[in-house]
Every structure is written in structure tokens, then in C-alpha cells.
């Protein structure tokens, strides 16, 4: 796997600009707005959470709609406006609206949070396959380690071949692993009710709101804001669209609708058919799907749905591999924030060295997750820390969007979000609330000291979200900059 810079698009006709592009170009194969919408949907939504949310019955609608109003809407509309005016995604928005250092911090937070995500995602993939083949494999460390490492590096390989491949695979995964099984669940659920069967979960007006028991309910509602995190991530590919100004907002609106439908309807359908007792939170996702299909005597669909869930998970993983690392590359080339080795591109114009470096770290973490029991049992804490880190990015994005409206009011935008100030304030406050709630100990922490939990989460947040990125900024050298890259990367500004 050699690393090299990409030849300029347009061949050698314009020598001067060719020199620039040789250093700066990141492969920009065309994506259609539909593919980008599917990529965004694939990044955010899947059926993985449907059994978990089905436990709440009709209240799952509330648990998804309220966060959609206060977090999904601001995130989607604000990023639609920003992406329709500026190329490069969140790093460029924050760099333009606040500062380049903050731009690096924003994209770092987006990038860093994924490192701990892959082992759990692929661990889930391993257990999904194991459920069908041999359930005892799910607790087998070497099996889990092999699945994680092989699938992760296969994902890196696919990502290193360019955005269009990622877009195609993510769309494929979304269709066969989320849209088709999701539609099937809803169809069977409707048939179930249509046959006159009573819903397994109460569906009367009183069941609309979740049980209110103070802090536990608040944690549930506020943490659900994060269900929609990632809507902005694929904006880094906006320059791959034919007409970003018009097409990105269109992709975002479609993704928003799909995400809501994917989250709400299948969860509701499961809650109609499968009694809550069989949706035990400790039972696993596949058991719930199995119970659903067994009820209709079509248990043979369980392995096919398992394949679909695996495909959807891998498709989603590809979008996360391709997105934040590209943003990190772009600002690092502009400002020299990463060593030249990490700035190199492969022959497809992909940030292969960043992906490989990330892969080495992820592999080490994944092996610990799979093979060291004390790590796997405590791994959930990383999802708390990484989501806290991700929220820093949202805080920066909302502030940057407000400032860009004020600092560059006449900058051409294909789409202007209505009431941007309200959206930004709402999104900012929602992010702050989610960050504060992140310090409330969850079930997994048991009866441990609250202050220990706060110290662990704050320490992780500080290390991953502040110390490491500012360490890179501190270590960066002017000689690592590629000034020509800056001009191209800021093309949208």
C-alpha cells in the first residue's frame, strides 16, 4: 500500500494549477444527492436500537420526537446551510466562524470519538453472526477478536479506494440491512394488529409519555438527543456533489425523514408483537428479532435479517471511516497540524496513512476489548467519554454557524436555515444539557461513587477532547503546512 499524492483532475493542461492540485487534491468522485442521503442515514440510523426502544412501547415515539425537535432539527438545518455554502465539512465551518485551531479541535472530536466505537460495533456484528451459527461463540474472545480485526481492516481497505465506493457500499448496507428489514417489521406489525390481535404494549393516550421518575427519566430523554449525532458528518463529502448548494440540503432533508422513520416505526412494530418480557435489555438484539419472526412462524428470516444487520453495520462503519479522517486531513494540510506522513494520500486520493494509523490504535483497543475480560466489562465507559467529546464539536459548530451569519452574511449559500439563531441556541443548549447529563452515573456504574464517575468521565473528556488535540497543535510545525492545499481546501469560502 503505497502512499502518493493525487494527479490533478483535468490532466496536465494547466501546469500552474496542476502543481497546486497535485499537493491538495483529495479524490472527489461524484456522489449523487441520494447516495449522500443514504450515507448520512447509514451513519446515524440502524435497527440495532429498535428492540431496546421497543421496551418503552408507545413512549418511544416521544423519546425520538422530542430529541428530534431540539437536536436533530438544529443539527440538520444548520449543517445544511453551512454545507451549502462552504466545502470541507465541520473543520472548515468552525475554522471560518471561529478559528483554525478550533476547526482542528472540532474535526478531532468528530474523529476521536469513532476510535472507541468500532470495537463495540464490530463486537455486536460478531455476536449477531454467533447468534445464528453458534451462540456460544459470542463469549469466545479469539473469535470476536478475529471478526473485529478482519472486518475493520476490510473496511479500511474499502475506504482507501475512494468515496464513491464507500457511498455505494453504505447505500447497499442501508437498503438490505435497514430499509428492507425495517419495512418488513412494520408490515408484519400492521398485519398483526390488522388481524385483531391486541398490542403487546399499551397504545393508549396514557402511554405516550415515558414513566417519569426523576433523574432516570431525564437521563433517558436527554441522552436520546445523541441518537441523532452524526447528521453533519458526511458534509465533508459535499464537494463530491454536482451542485452542493442545492443537493446537500436535499440530501439532508431526505436523511432526516429516513432517520426518523427507521428509528420510530420498527421499534413500534416490535412493541406491538413482542411482549416486553421478551425484550429484556440483557437479552440481545437478535433474540428480539428472533421472537418477532418466530411469532409469525417465519423464523428462517432470522439469519437473513442477521446478514442485513451485519451489512448495515459495516456500511455505517465505512461512512465513519471515510468522513472524519478526511476532515482531519484537510485542515492538517492547510495548517500543518499533523506530521507530513499522516498528510499523505494514496493513489485514490484517500488519507490512507491516517486510516492506517487509526487502524493500529483501533486494533490494539479491539484486541483488549475482545481478549481482556476486565476491559470488555468496563468498555461502556468509553461510549460515555466519546459522546462527551463529540458534544464539544456540536458546541463549536452551533457557535460557528451563528458567527458565520454575522461575519459573512453575503457569502453565497444554497440554503438559508430559517431562524438560524433560534436553531443554534436550541442546538447549543441541547448539547450542553447532554454534556451535563453525561456526568450522571448510568446503570452500568452500579453503586459506585458519583464523584469517581465524574472524575473518570471528566478525565477522559479532558484527555481525549483537550490534551491530545492541543498536543497536536502544540507540536505542529509551519514546515508541515502545504499552503497550496489551503487555497484549494478553502475553495468554498
Amino acid at each position: 500500500m503505497t502512499s502518493m499524492d493525487v494527479p490533478l483532475e483535468g490532466g496536465g493542461k494547466q501546469a500552474g494549477s496542476a502543481k497546486t492540485a497535485v499537493r491538495t487534491a483529495v479524490a472527489r468522485p461524484r456522489l449523487t444527492w441520494l447516495t449522500l442521503a443514504f450515507m448520512t442515514t447509514s451513519s446515524v440510523a440502524s435497527l440495532r436500537a429498535a428492540p431496546t426502544m421497543a421496551v418503552y412501547g408507545l413512549a418511544c415515539v416521544f423519546l425520538y420526537v422530542v430529541p428530534a425537535i431540539v437536536f436533530l432539527l438544529p443539527t440538520a438545518l444548520v449543517s445544511a446551510e453551512l454545507a451549502s455554502g462552504w466545502n470541507g465539512g465541520v473543520y472548515n465551518w468552525v475554522a471560518q466562524g471561529l478559528s483554525k485551531r478550533m476547526g482542528f479541535l472540532a474535526v478531532w472530536c468528530q474523529f476521536a470519538m469513532t476510535i472507541f466505537y468500532y470495537p463495540t460495533l464490530l463486537g455486536y456484528v460478531a455476536s449477531t453472526i454467533a447468534y445464528v451459527i453458534d451462540p456460544s461463540l459470542a463469549s469466545n474472545g479469539p473469535y470476536t477478536a478475529c471478526v473485529i480485526v478482519i472486518l475493520y481492516w476490510a473496511g479500511v481497505w474499502v475506504s482507501s479506494r475512494g468515496t464513491s465506493g464507500v457511498g455505494g457500499m453504505a447505500s447497499f448496507g442501508l437498503i438490505i440491512g435497514t430499509l428492507i428489514p425495517g419495512a418488513l417489521l412494520v408490515l408484519l406489525g400492521v398485519v398483526f394488529l390488522g388481524q385483531g390481535n391486541p398490542s403487546a404494549a399499551p397504545m393508549d393516550a396514557g402511554a405516550i409519555f415515558p414513566q417519569w421518575t426523576g433523574i432516570a427519566s431525564l437521563v433517558l430523554i436527554v441522552n436520546n438527543f445523541l441518537s441523532y449525532s452524526g447528521m453533519e458528518m458526511n458534509a465533508v463529502h459535499v464537494s463530491s456533489l454536482k451542485n452542493p448548494a442545492r443537493e446537500f440540503p436535499r440530501a439532508m432533508f431526505l436523511a432526516m425523514a429516513l432517520v426518523l422513520l427507521i428509528f420510530i416505526l420498527p421499534a413500534l412494530a416490535i412493541s406491538w408483537v413482542v411482549p416486553a418480557a421478551q425484550l429484556s435489555l440483557t437479552a440481545g438484539v437478535m433474540q428480539a428479532f428472533d421472537a418477532f419472526f418466530q411469532y409469525f412462524n417465519i423464523g428462517w428470516l432470522t439469519p437473513l435479517v442477521a446478514i442485513g444487520l451485519v451489512a448495515a453495520s459495516l456500511g455505517g462503519m465505512l461512512t465513519w471511516l471515510a468522513g472524519p479522517s478526511k476532515g482531519l486531513l484537510l485542515i492538517s494540510r492547510q495548517e500543518g497540524y499533523l506530521p507530513p506522513f499522516l498528510q499523505k494520500l494514496n493513489k485514490n486520493g484517500v488519507q490512507q496513512n491516517i486510516l492506517v494509523a487509526q487502524g493500529v490504535v483501533t486494533t490494539a483497543i479491539a484486541l483488549m476489548y475482545a481478549l481482556i475480560p476486565s476491559v470488555s466489562s468496563a468498555y461502556w465507559i468509553f461510549s460515555v467519554i466519546t459522546t462527551q467529546v463529540y458534544l464539544i464539536m456540536y458546541l463549536l459548530m452551533f457557535v460557528a454557524a451563528l458567527r458565520l451569519r454575522r461575519l459573512q452574511p453575503d457569502h453565497p449559500r444554497g440554503y438559508r436555515a430559517p431562524m438560524l439563531a433560534v436553531l443554534c441556541v436550541m442546538g447549543f443548549l441541547a448539547s450542553v444539557a447532554a454534556m451535563i447529563i453525561g456526568f450522571v452515573p448510568s446503570s452500568q456504574f452500579g453503586s459506585g461513587s458519583v464523584w469517581s464517575y465524574v472524575v473518570i468521565v471528566a478525565g477522559g473528556l479532558l484527555l481525549l477532547g483537550i490534551v491530545i488535540p492541543f498536543g497536536f497543535l502544540w507540536a505542529s510545525k509551519p514546515s508541515w503546512r502545504q499552503p497550496d492545499a489551503a487555497a484549494a481546501a478553502e475553495g468554498g469560502a
Partner: protein, 161 residues
């Protein structure tokens, strides 16, 4: 609700010099992925075994039904219980307290995210405890260890029943 401006932003750069080449190579990756998915689907379909009806499976299912109702849960369907748990509890009884299985069920006590936004919550007490009832019927040897694990959890009442 939306408002569009007439002026588009900067146009994106052109495609790389050989877009067709990219497309051709990606086509083969795509075909390879579909072939692998089909092979895996065949393997899963062949290896997936549904639990068969038997007197013992039916007896266990009825035991579980009774235990669930006694614990205040709605009565689950007997045939579905037989199909999921069979005689031996199926996946539920395969090392339920093992580190990786525990990591998975700890992960499930999360919000409604389907991506990296997954984050733990304070889980509902009865939704967590249901599995212990299943284990008590199908693999009571694991019950104490499992009960100890879930007793360590901080739970609340977040599901309206």
C-alpha cells in the same frame, strides 16, 4: 420553512482524471461484497437451527409463562417461547455472565442511537430483570452469578406498564 438563495456557492472541483477507472475498480469491490454476503447468508441459513417442539420444551415454556405472569409481566406466547428457548434456553444460557456477553448486554442498556451516539442510560428495573426469570427456568445453574451481576446495576423505573 426553507428559503433558497439564487446564488450558488463555489462549484466543486472536477472529477479525477480517470473517473471511469475508479468506477470499474469499485464495481469489483461491490460485486465481491455481494458475493461474500450471499456466501455468509447461505452459511447462516444452513447453520441456523430452530428449536423443535418437544414435551420438555413445551413444559419449560409453560413454566416460564407462569413465572413471568407471577412476576407481573404479560404472558408471552408459548409457541414463540419454544421456538426461541427450546429445551435448553438457547443463546440465553450460553455463558450469560461471560465478559463479552456482559459487555454486549451492558451496551444494550443505552439510548436509542443506532450509531456512535450510543450512550448508557439508567435502565428500567423490570426490563433488566426479565432475563433472570428466563435463566431461572432454563439454566438455573447460571442464575446466582447472573443475579449478582444485575444486582450490581443501578436501575430505575422508566417504562410505563
Amino acid at each position: 420553512m426553507t428559503e433558497s438563495t439564487a446564488t450558488p456557492p463555489a462549484q466543486p472541483p472536477q472529477d479525477p482524471a480517470h473517473p471511469g477507472h475508479h468506477k470499474e475498480r469499485n464495481k469489483w469491490v461491490f460485486i465481491g461484497a455481494i458475493v461474500l454476503a450471499v456466501i455468509l447468508a447461505i452459511i447462516l441459513l444452513v447453520t441456523y437451527t430452530q428449536h423443535k417442539h418437544s414435551a420438555e420444551a413445551a413444559s419449560k415454556a409453560r413454566q416460564l409463562q407462569a413465572a413471568m405472569v407471577a412476576a407481573g409481566y404479560p404472558e408471552p406466547d408459548e409457541d414463540t417461547l419454544i421456538a426461541i428457548f427450546g429445551r435448553d434456553g438457547g443463546a440465553v444460557c450460553k455463558d450469560p455472565t461471560g465478559a463479552l456477553n456482559k459487555a454486549q448486554w451492558l451496551d444494550n442498556m443505552a439510548n436509542g442511537a443506532g450509531g456512535p451516539g450510543m450512550r448508557p442510560v439508567i435502565a428500567d428495573r423490570k426490563a433488566v430483570a426479565a432475563e433472570a426469570i428466563v435463566i431461572s427456568v432454563y439454566c438455573p445453574d447460571h442464575l446466582q452469578a447472573f443475579q449478582d451481576k444485575i444486582d450490581d446495576l443501578k436501575t430505575g423505573t422508566t417504562v410505563r406498564r
